[in-house]
Structures are given as structure tokens and as C-alpha cells.
Amino acid sequence: MAYTLQLEIVTPEAKVFSENVEMVTLAGIEGELGILPGHEPVMTQLAAGEITVRKEGKNIFLAVGEGFVQITGERVAVLTDMAVKADDIDEVKAEEAQKKAESRLSQKLSDEEAATVHAALIHATTQLNVKRRHKK
């Protein structure tokens, strides 16, 4: 099948993913979206969770943070604050980060700090969830 989607996942730190793929499944804030080539143009917000990419018959999983998605017939652009491939997730590190964030949340924090810690907690938890689900 020569019919593919160009998937781009970009975070402020790096371009995480830029390849041609067959199908993308991601969690929008309105629910799961399965995107095939030729999808109608949509713009939506991305919820923290998992992106499943189907490429050459194989599934690739990524843990992503909140962000934005723009879909056109031949292209899916994902802007997010975090994106890690499941294979690259360091479970120990993520667990540590999760614990650290949790303990900091119980302390008194300013609004700004609380938002940062909260985001960190979501990142760590998402990474853990994705990793555990796809453990071989």
C-alpha cells in the first residue's frame, strides 16, 4: 500500500517522530481517534496518553503529554510537551519522577509550581502506563 500518512510529533525539545506511516491512533480530549490516510481535516486537543503508530505492519507506541493535533488527509501534526517512544521509557526513572512529584504535591506550592509538578506527575504516570502495557 503506497497510501501513507506523514506523521510528525514535535516537542519543544526535539522532533521526536517524522515518518510515513499507515495508521495513527491517538487520544483526543473527545475520545480516541483512529486516523487513516484521507482522513478529513480536523483540529483538536491531545490528551495525555498513548499514541499507537502502525508502520509497515508493526505497531510503535509512544507516551505523550497534552498538546494539539492537526490532521489533514495526508499529514498528522502533533504538538505536545512530551513524547517518548515506549522502548525508550526508563521505568525506574519514571517511577522515581512519579514518586517525587507525588511527594511534592503534598507540600504547599504556589499555583505556578503546582502546575509544573502536576504536569511532571502526568508525564511520569503516562510513561509508566504505556511501558507496563507493552512489556514483553
Binding site: 526535539a14 481535516p41 480536523v42 483540529m43 483538536t44 489533514t72 505556578e112
Partner: protein, 291 residues
């Protein structure tokens, strides 16, 4: 005429200064590389955000967000971004020269100590003072951007611009004033190391986007986010500018010090030789007188 000891003392003190400036130059060089790197990695994100916003703009006809509402501009605010420390050549003074061109009733929001000091010294209106670290964090940028958005939405100000030293290359930094609010034509987020704006012109013919759940909530999130991000890019760029400016300034200082040392050493040797000749002359004259 200075004595040889005076000259020796001066040489020593200039050498010490040269050592310090040399050290500062190296530190700045290392930091500069890091800061430039940090400013560069944000580029794909900025570019994609640009593209998304431009495309989204076509899809939304007859829709306007409060942050995009242009108002007759009577009260203007400027976010002045400077470095925290001096010794970076003309970076801050060039920036502040631009400030004096602005109208007197402009309200200032500052980031960086030098800017705050300048505004206080020249008795201009300071709305808020922010600080940011050596490696600017997103949260720091978000604090500034949020504050300014609040001001704008409460109609305390009608337009917000940012004045910062744009990083052109290691040798050149240019003070630049860019509009921040209201968001014009959805072409924001173009900051970043000379971020390419061609993305706006090049995109494919109009596609009407479906918004999920609706335009208001998607753009309501996207617009503030893009402003926060733009602010962050500007902080990163300012840091890159600052470190480059400091490196160049310190390099010049070191070179100058070396030149002075050279000149002083020459003078010292001349004086030393003159002294020896004079002494010899005295001895021979004395001998001749005795003999």
C-alpha cells in the same frame, strides 16, 4: 617619569585583569554554546506551531478570540527583556536606547535585573518585574506571558510589544521590537532563532478544518499556549545573545589587556636600559675624575 617599579606594578595588575577577562570569556563561550543550542531546538516546534496556526486561521471565518481583538491603541505595554548582569558590551545599552524612543506613558514589564534597574532609574512606569534563570524554564516564560495576557484581557493595556536583543549571530545582536498582543493574523510564534516565516506563505490551498470539540476551546488553548511558547523562545534567545555579547566583549578586553602589557613591557625595558646606561656613564665619569 614613572620608575621601573611603578611600571612593573602596572604590568602585574593588567595581567591579573587579563586573566579574569580570559576566564570570563571561556565561561561565556561554554554557556553560549549551550544557550544557542537551547534556542535552536525549539525551532521545529515553533515552525509547526506557525503552520498549524496559519492553517487554522483559514478554517475560522467570522470567529475571533478575545486575545486577537485589536483595540484603538492608546495604552501600550512593552515587555523589556535584558540580561541580569553587565559586562556584556553594548547589549543592554543598545536595548535601552530603543526604550527612550518609546512614548513616555508606556507601561513596562521587565525580565532580567538590568531592565528593572533601568526602568527604575529613568522613572518610567513599571507594572511588574520578572526574573529568569541562566537556562530559562518554560514556567518562567509562562508566568510573564500569563501576567501580560491578564493585563490585556482586563483592558489595562491595549497592545503589548516585546523588546529584546535578537540573536543574529555571535557577533551581532540587534534590539528588536515585536508585537505580542493582540495576536495579529494568527502569525505569532515566529520568534526563535530567525525562525522561518515562510511556512505561512507556503502551505497548501485552503482546507476547512473541523474543530473538536469546537473552535473556541481549541483556539482558547492554542493561543495562550503559543504566546507562552513565544515568550519562552524570546527568553532563550536573549540568553544566547547575552552570552555571545559577553564572550565578544571579554575577548576584546583580553586582547586590549595583552596589548597594554606589550606596550608597558617595552617601556619598562627601555627605561631599564636607560637606567643602566646612565649608571655606566656615572661610573666612568667618576673614574675619569678620580684618575
Amino acid at each position: 617619569m614613572a620608575s621601573t617599579r611603578d611600571i612593573r606594578r602596572r604590568i602585574k595588575s593588567v595581567k591579573n585583569t587579563a586573566q579574569i577577562t580570559k576566564a570570563m570569556q571561556m565561561v561565556a563561550a561554554a554557556k553560549m554554546r549551550k544557550a544557542q543550542q537551547a534556542a535552536l531546538v525549539g525551532r521545529p516546534y515553533a515552525q509547526l506551531m506557525n503552520e498549524i496556526m496559519a492553517k487554522a486561521a483559514e478554517g475560522m471565518v467570522g470567529f475571533s478570540h478575545p486575545l486577537m481583538q485589536p483595540r484603538p491603541s492608546s495604552k501600550r505595554a512593552v515587555i523589556l527583556v535584558s540580561s541580569d548582569r553587565g559586562l556584556c558590551g553594548g547589549l543592554n545599552s543598545n536595548l535601552f536606547r530603543e526604550v527612550s524612543k518609546l512614548e513616555k506613558n508606556t507601561v513596562f514589564i521587565t525580565a532580567g535585573k538590568k531592565a528593572a534597574q533601568f526602568i527604575a532609574r529613568t522613572r518610567r512606569t513599571l507594572a511588574a518585574e520578572f526574573s529568569y534563570k541562566d537556562t530559562p524554564e518554560f514556567t518562567e516564560a509562562r508566568a510573564i506571558s500569563k501576567f501580560v495576557q491578564q493585563m490585556f484581557l482586563k483592558e489595562e493595556v491595549d497592545a503589548v510589544d516585546i523588546l529584546f536583543p535578537r540573536f543574529v549571530n555571535t557577533l551581532t545582536q540587534q534590539p528588536q521590537l515585536i508585537p505580542f498582543l493582540p495576536i495579529g493574523k494568527l502569525a505569532a510564534a515566529s520568534a526563535g532563532l530567525n525562525a522561518p516565516t515562510k511556512a505561512l506563505a507556503e502551505h497548501s490551498p485552503a482546507e476547512i478544518f473541523e474543530f473538536e470539540p469546537d473552535e473556541e476551546s481549541v483556539l482558547g488553548e492554542l493561543l495562550p499556549h503559543s504566546l507562552n511558547f513565544q515568550m519562552h523562545q524570546i527568553l532563550l534567545e536573549t540568553k544566547a545573545s547575552e552570552q555571545s555579547a559577553r564572550m565578544v566583549a571579554m575577548k576584546n578586553a583580553t586582547d586590549n589587556a595583552k596589548q597594554i602589557i606589550k606596550d608597558l613591557t617595552l617601556e619598562y625595558n627601555k627605561l631599564r636600559q636607560a637606567n643602566i646606561t646612565k649608571e655606566l656613564l656615572e661610573i666612568t665619569t667618576a673614574q675619569m675624575a678620580v684618575g
